[in-house]
């Protein structure tokens, strides 16, 4: 028997976290008399901010390490997962890694009776609004918490690691039992708060595992790319480039339809066009050229390509004009500019409702969890200029 665990994480921000959890699973399972090993999906490029990546842990109570490796370790991706851990809940919208995979459902690999374990503050129903249907029953477990994001090569010690281990023990005690998790954390750190964090998560998640039936979830609309046979593509490693095109208006710039990249996004910029002073900075500074100039001098944002880096919100000189908002509050990637043109008042109402009053900041390097600041609802057309110091988060 083989137990396969995949850990979906966001490139660079959670790389160390995912690797540590994968290693912990192996060491704890080994203490329980099983064999295991752990690796990452090698075709990933986890140095890219936010890009969905995977780490794996494979455990068996009866196979030799070599047989386990032959079954799992000689593969570049996992065949199926008994547990798919999701370290940032915005990945439930789909994951598109760096290589030619297309946008895949977050539960793609979950087996029948297996479990999707999501770190989230949302309910089962809210998450299932984005998750693809499966032809069989599986479980959805929720570990309450924020996405733990750290900077390049930094591991943020905010107990997410310990809590995820406790949650996995709740989902499958035969893989790793909570007693083994607690003993391991105590033996390796001698710190009781780590043991307690795992236990608390274990107790909580045991109450929050629900069966998902084949009628729950959405129809998945994204196709898996078909790769050409060896004689079907150009010799000399030549790939046709995107043909240059430009016209004013939404979607007016030619972009690569093969790699849209929006699944790298945790937050998206919400734009109050009525406050825009047409300064061009969002368009100019966007590292991914996601802003389309319009005939009347505004800048529409193309949410299919926006990776949510937040640069536009940083450089925008007008108070509350561009604000980064949790990605899970949005259903689709349609043009906000077109919405505004169609129904200006309705758009502003919608934008303010999505923004809410809290402004969430991820302290990447230090601190725990997320930082929540107070936002403000600016009346229509009231353009308040920010001093540059205020515009850029300290």
């Amino acid at each position: 028997m083989i137990k396969r665990v995949e850990i979906n994480y966001r490139g660079i921000f959670q790389k160390n976290l995912a690797k540590k959890i994968g290693g912990d699973i192996v060491l704890i399972a080994t203490r329980m008399g099983q064999v295991g090993f752990s690796n990452g999906r090698y075709s990933d490029s986890p140095e890219r901010n936010g890009i969905p990546c995977k780490y794996f842990a494979f455990v068996s109570p009866d196979l030799s390490e070599e047989e386990l490796e032959a079954e799992c370790g000689a593969k570049l991706d996992i065949d199926e997962a008994n547990i798919s851990v999701v370290l940032d809940d915005t990945m439930v919208k789909g994951v598109e890694p760096w290589a030619w995979h297309g946008i895949r459902p977050i539960n793609e690999k979950v087996t029948e009776g297996g479990c999707l374990l999501v770190v989230s503050r949302r309910s089962h129903g809210e998450l299932l609004k984005f998750i693809a249907k499966k032809p069989y029953n599986y479980n959805l477990a929720i570990l309450e918490g924020d996405a733990s994001f750290a900077g390049l090569w930094v591991y943020k010690d905010d107990l997410t690691r310990e809590r995820v281990l406790g949650a996995i023990a709740a989902v499958d005690p035969e893989l790793i039992s909570i007693e083994a998790v607690e003993q391991y954390l105590w033996d390796t750190t001698q710190q009781e708060h780590r043991v307690l964090a795992a236990r608390e998560a274990y107790e909580q998640v045991r109450q929050r595992i629900k069966t998902v039936t084949p009628d729950q979830g959405i129809e998945w609309s994204y196709q898996v790319p078909t790769l050409p046979k060896w004689y079907e593509f150009s010799e000399g490693v030549v790939v046709p480039a995107v043909k240059r095109e430009f016209r004013l208006g939404p979607g007016g710039q030619a972009r690569n339809t093969q790699l849209k990249r929006f699944t790298s996004r945790t937050q998206r910029p919400v734009i109050r066009f009525d406050l825009c002073i047409k300064c061009t900075l969002c368009w100019y500074d966007c590292p991914d050229e996601c802003f389309d100039p319009t005939e009347d001098g505004y800048y529409d944002v193309n949410y299919e390509y926006c990776v949510g880096c937040g640069r536009c919100a940083q450089v925008c000189p007008v108070k509350e004009c561009i604000v980064m908002v949790d990605e899970l509050r949005f259903e689709d990637n349609s043009s906000p500019y077109e919405f505004w043109k169609r129904d200006p008042e309705g758009y502003i109402r919608w934008a303010e409702e999505k923004k809410g009053t809290e402004r969430v900041v991820y302290p990447f390097v230090t601190g725990t969890g997320v930082q929540v600041l107070e936002g403000e609802r600016v009346p229509e057309g009231k353009k308040i200029m920010l001093k540059k110091k205020e515009a850029l988060p300290s």
């Binding site: 192996v26 690796n39 090698y42 032959a70 060896w230």
Partner: protein, 407 residues
């Protein structure tokens, strides 16, 4: 497969990737000079060594070079003044430093290099392919593949012991499959420093050590009046290395338990009564041996040979072994463009080694796993089927098969 000594020769167990295991080998070998320059998948080795040094567990000069060429020159020179030296690279980085790699062999400096196997760009791909390490095969190098992090750690020690032996004095390339070994975390047993000291004597260049008190000149310009004799010396060292390798494994077993079994250069699995075997380099041994178990359950007489040492090539031992079988399937995770029968590098070595045998098995070839494409258990079973078919037909038609290609 192996029995490891229980006693105090093992210090602790840790979860390590192949790269980290090599770094611990470097720590235990008490290496003096390390030159580093990043390229995936080797990069994690330099990361892990720098952490070991920062943690105070190794006292060494750690130099981040400006390129692979500098990197390899630095360790070559360090080795010539009597420092035990280590470097490593992958793919095109390894190729970029090639001029330095060639002279390290000619100058007979026993530096150990880790090659994290990577496809040669273009296209930019970081998956495993063996052509990078194989490039030193004709240059006077020792070249060896390992299949687990445990073996990787141990072969850093075995590698230095063989390379630095007075009878050998050759650079050593320790090759390891990118991803499947370099980046896979396993529980590894780490030996004690004391036990390693017993196995690996200090590096001693003797009279060849470059030092103001020992005035010598290394590798002056020579022409047609010297080169053939120099090559002949190098060859003699490679010939002597065959015996030194065997001695090193025997000594390793004496200290660390019955870890490796004869003939050491390669490892046979379920070959006693086998009619058909596959032979390959590196981690393909895992699906290969698992395929053997599956087919044995169905009563098929198959086996697997994991070739560790490519240089020196174990000609006599392998010939004696392979001639017992009806057919041999050679797995190449490389491709030798335009070579005889359009096969892989290992095919040519195996076939050439078998030629003098009076009774030879049918030899077929598989090109597979290029650029990091996975080789599954099912792929290996398919290879066995083709090899069995070749044994039945006793035929050589179309005997090179690409396995795992989109066609």
């Amino acid at each position: 497969m192996t029995t490891r000594a229980e006693a105090s020769v093992w210090e602790r167990e840790e979860l390590l990737t192949g790269c980290q295991a090599v770094a611990h080998g470097v720590r235990l070998a008490d290496v003096d000079v390390i030159a580093a320059y990043p390229i995936r998948p080797y990069t994690e080795v330099m990361d892990a060594i720098s952490k070991i040094i920062a943690d105070g567990e190794l006292d060494a000069e750690y130099i981040v070079a400006a390129s692979e060429h500098d990197q390899f020159e630095i360790v070559k020179h360090a080795s010539s003044v009597g420092a035990r030296a280590f470097a490593g690279s992958s793919g095109t980085g390894w190729m970029y430093g090639f001029e330095a790699l060639v002279v390290t062999a000619t100058d007979r400096l026993p530096v150990l290099f880790l090659v994290g196997n990577r496809a040669l760009d273009d296209p930019g791909a970081f998956g495993v392919e063996h052509n990078d390490a194989l490039a030193v095969r004709d240059m006077g190098w020792l070249l060896c593949w390992v299949t687990t992090p445990q073996e990787a750690l141990e072969h850093v020690l075995i590698g230095y012991r063989v390379a630095e032996d007075k009878r050998v004095m050759m650079p050593m390339a320790l090759a390891m499959d990118g991803a499947f070994l370099t980046h896979s975390q396993h529980v590894v047993r780490i030996p004690t420093k004391e036990a390693v000291r017993r196995f690996l004597p200090p590096y001693d260049l003797g009279e060849r050590r470059l030092h103001p008190d020992n005035p010598i000149s290394i590798a002056p310009q020579v022409n047609e009046d010297w080169v053939m004799e120099i090559r002949r010396q190098n060859w003699e060292a490679a010939r002597r290395a065959r015996q030194v390798i065997v001695e090193a494994y025997r000594e390793f077993n004496a200290i660390f338990g019955d870890v490796y079994s004869p003939p050491y250069y390669f490892e046979e699995f379920m070959t006693e009564d086998a009619e058909v075997v596959l032979i390959g380099l590196g981690t393909v041994a895992r699906p290969g041996r698992t395929a053997v178990r599956r087919l044995r359950e169905k009563g098929q007489k198959v086996g697997y040979i994991n070739l560790r040492w490519f240089r020196p090539f174990p000609t006599v031992e392998l010939r004696e072994s392979l001639r017992r079988f009806r057919a041999v399937g050679v797995i190449d995770r490389d491709f030798a463009h335009g070579s005889p029968d359009d096969g892989g590098a290992l095919l040519h070595e195996v076939r050439s080694c078998l030629y003098p045998a009076r009774e030879r098995p049918v030899v077929v070839n598989f090109i597979s796993g290029l650029g990091g494409r996975d080789i599954s258990i099912a792929d290996c079973i398919k290879m066995f089927e083709i090899t069995q078919e070749a044994a039945r037909k006793d035929s050589l038609d179309g005997f090179v098969t690409w396995v795992g290609l989109r066609e």
